[in-house]
């Protein structure tokens, strides 16, 4: 018997008990819709989160002198890149077409004083133009008059974090004093004017401020910039792993003095993305359970209702392998129809959400979800449901194929 005939019979059998088939298919389709819609929302949320994290402060990748990340909490100033080392790294980055921009930074800790009170502050001394090109969302976190994004800082100016502004009762235009110890242990101070307020993406917390790299050099008494960190922004985020591997190869050379980390390795918030992935996985497991139970149930009922019929088709010459195929196709067909329906409804729902857009605030982040699901993800959902449908239908189908015709014919 040709497969086409088996498929026709299997489909007709499915519609013998329309209500039951429709109920089961609806349940499976609902599971698929759940995975598609939840997956679309979660993937969109995750990519927005990653985008905000990488484009606001971290960059996609960071390069440091070897050993820096291990002691990052101490912000050591002796682990820097300067002179030929810095030139070599810049040459390497300039030679990589995937790299859109990079921003060298001097990161250090200092004391900030309003002449009456003092507090501590973490500072990034940056080239404003390079920083703006590398972390383009940073400008959105600055509250104050900025003439141009590429000149959000000028020499003699400082961006002070929100909670320090409140804690030290500062306002834009005030003068503050920064006191810092350089790598040799000598202390120096500079006076700077507050140009704007820095807002933290996760709410009014953190003590990260920005100054111009020239002021950083002056404060730390550096003859030339001694760069602690280079943030790298890629043309396409999905090339991250490729670029990371390429840079790792360079850093693994014995003569290399650099180490490379992705945003994920450096940010504690990368765990949020892992939680999102875990949630997607949980929803997929729920889907698998729904499909498994539904198909096992409907196919078992179907076999027990049709024992006499199985006996008839066996008696008139249907080999056990074809009886097995017939029932497997029935289970598979339910999975196929439900998956198709679920994917269509799921993608339709995502498209509607896309039209209306979902806007909300997470911390200080304005998130506007434009949910969508990659074709590969949809493909794998379909493959999982098909496979589980076949798996779930196997036991009832096997049972049907093993029935003795004489026993089955005698069944009432």
């Amino acid at each position: 018997m040709k497969m086409r005939n088996l498929i026709i019979i299997a489909f007709r059998n499915l519609f013998r008990n329309k209500r039951r088939t429709i109920l089961t298919s609806s349940l499976i389709a609902f599971g698929v819709v759940l995975v598609v819609v939840f997956g679309g929302l979660a993937i969109s949320f995750k990519s927005q989160m990653i985008g905000i994290l990488t484009n606001t402060a971290m960059g996609d990748l960071q390069i440091h002198r070897k050993g820096y990340v291990e002691s990052i909490d101490n912000q050591p100033l002796h682990l820097t890149l300067s002179g030929t080392e810095l030139a070599d790294v810049e040459k390497m980055l300039n030679g990589m077409p995937e790299v859109a921009s990079y921003s060298p930074r001097i990161k250090f800790g200092a004391m900030i004083s309003n002449y009456a009170q003092t507090s501590n502050i973490r500072l990034s001394a940056v080239y404003p133009e390079m920083e703006n090109r590398t972390v383009s969302e940073l400008i959105k976190r600055i509250k104050g008059q900025i003439t141009s994004p590429d000149e959000f800082l000028k020499p003699g100016e400082i961006l002070v974090p929100e909670n320090l502004m409140k804690g030290l009762s500062l306002k834009i235009g005030d003068e503050i004093v920064l006191v810092a110890t350089n790598k040799d242990g000598s202390v120096n101070a500079v006076t700077l004017r507050i140009a704007a307020v820095m807002e933290n993406v996760f709410g009014p917390s953190g003590k990260d401020g920005y100054i111009h790299i020239q002021d950083g050099q002056t404060l730390l008494r550096m003859d030339q910039p001694e760069i602690v960190e280079i943030a790298v922004h890629l043309q396409k985020f999905d090339r991250l792993n490729g670029v990371f591997e390429q840079l790792m190869k360079e850093s693994d050379q014995p003569e290399s003095s650099i180490e490379v980390h992705t945003w994920e390795q450096l940010s504690p918030f990368s765990s949020i993305t892992r939680i999102v992935d875990l949630l997607i996985l949980v929803v997929k497991f729920i889907l698998i359970s729904i499909v498994l139970v539904s198909i096992l149930n409907i196919m078992t009922m179907s076999v027990y209702e049709r024992i006499s019929e199985i006996g008839t088709i066996a008696a008139i010459g249907t080999p056990p392998s074809r009886i097995l195929s017939l029932f497997l196709i029935e289970g598979f067909a339910i999975g196929l129809l439900s998956t198709f329906g679920g994917i269509v409804i799921g993608i339709g729902t995502l498209s509607l959400m896309n039209l209306t857009r979902i806007d909300f605030t997470f911390g200080q982040m304005d998130i506007s979800l434009a949910p969508g699901i990659p074709a590969g993800e949809v493909f794998w959902i379909a493959v999982i449901v098909m496979f589980v449908s076949l798996f779930a239908g196997f036991h009832p189908a096997y049972k049907a194929s093993k029935m003795e015709p004489v026993d089955a014919l005698g069944h009432v």
Binding site: K2, T312, G317, V406
Partner: protein
């Protein structure tokens, strides 16, 4: 897969040379015991039987006399507890389940008391189904065979209907067409008229007669309906699992 055609030709060839070719159906000392509970039930006892080709045979007897069991064993649906069954010179006891299925598809047609048509297939498709089991029969030939049989049983105008839309008599006519569509040498019918009225029952028996004459098929049916018993050429009476009487009648 065993090629029964070749085996059959070889068996026939050597049988003719040795001069001891068996009948179409040859049963030797058949015993059947059902071990269903504490007490084993002896369904068939020492059955020895020879049925020739192109005959119209009936098994009669009261309920529980072993008619259906005997038909099941001849039809390779069941195996005897003891004894040998040769159908068309093949020792069917040696066949496994898959081989039995292929053998049945090629050699035996079945007509059941409850018609047993497949409810999701139309009348045409029900008759076509056994041909699909044989495989490699071109669509044109399948169509011609099915339509011819439907015409013979007077069901051409009902061919697109599903079984739930036709009467019991019509269902059994379709079942006869389905049993004959593969040109089997044997058709086994278990109480084929039990669920039919008198007119329909005679119509079915009459069709079976015509088919025996036209296709040379051996029809074997069980019944306890005295009205149609007289239609058989050879009548075997069963009681308590044993053949107690054999009556050879003139061809009807």
């Amino acid at each position: 897969m065993i090629n029964y055609d070749i085996i059959q030709k070889l068996v026939t060839f050597f049988g003719i040379i040795e001069g001891k070719l068996m009948s179409l159906i040859h049963l030797e000392n058949i015993e059947k015991v059902y071990d269903t509970g504490e007490i084993p039930v002896q369904a068939l006892r020492s059955i020895n039987l020879e049925i020739q080709t192109k005959t119209f045979v009936s098994f009669i007897g009261p309920s529980g006399s072993g008619k259906t069991t005997l038909l099941n064993i001849i039809g390779c649906l069941d195996k005897p507890t003891d004894g040998k069954v040769f159908v068309n010179n093949i020792d069917v006891g040696m066949l496994n389940r898959a081989e039995s299925a292929v053998f049945r598809a090629k050699t035996i047609g079945f007509v059941f008391q409850n018609f047993n048509l497949i409810p999701v297939l139309t009348v045409y498709e029900n008759v076509e189904y056994p041909l699909l089991m044989l495989g490699r029969i071109p669509l044109k030939e399948r169509r011609s065979r099915v339509l011819r049989l439907l015409e013979k049983v007077g069901m051409t105008d009902q061919k697109d209907k599903y079984p739930n839309k036709i009467s019991g008599g019509q269902k059994q006519r379709v079942a006869v067409a389905r049993a004959l569509v593969t040109n089997p040498q044997i058709v086994l019918a278990d109480e084929p008229t039990a669920n039919l009225d008198h007119t329909s029952a005679f119509k079915i028996i009459s069709i079976m007669h015509e088919m025996t004459n036209e296709f040379g098929t051996t029809f074997i049916f069980s019944t306890h309906d005295p009205k149609i018993v007289g239609e058989a050429e050879i009548l075997y009476t069963l009681e308590d699992g044993a053949i107690v009487n054999t009556e050879q009648r003139k061809a009807v």
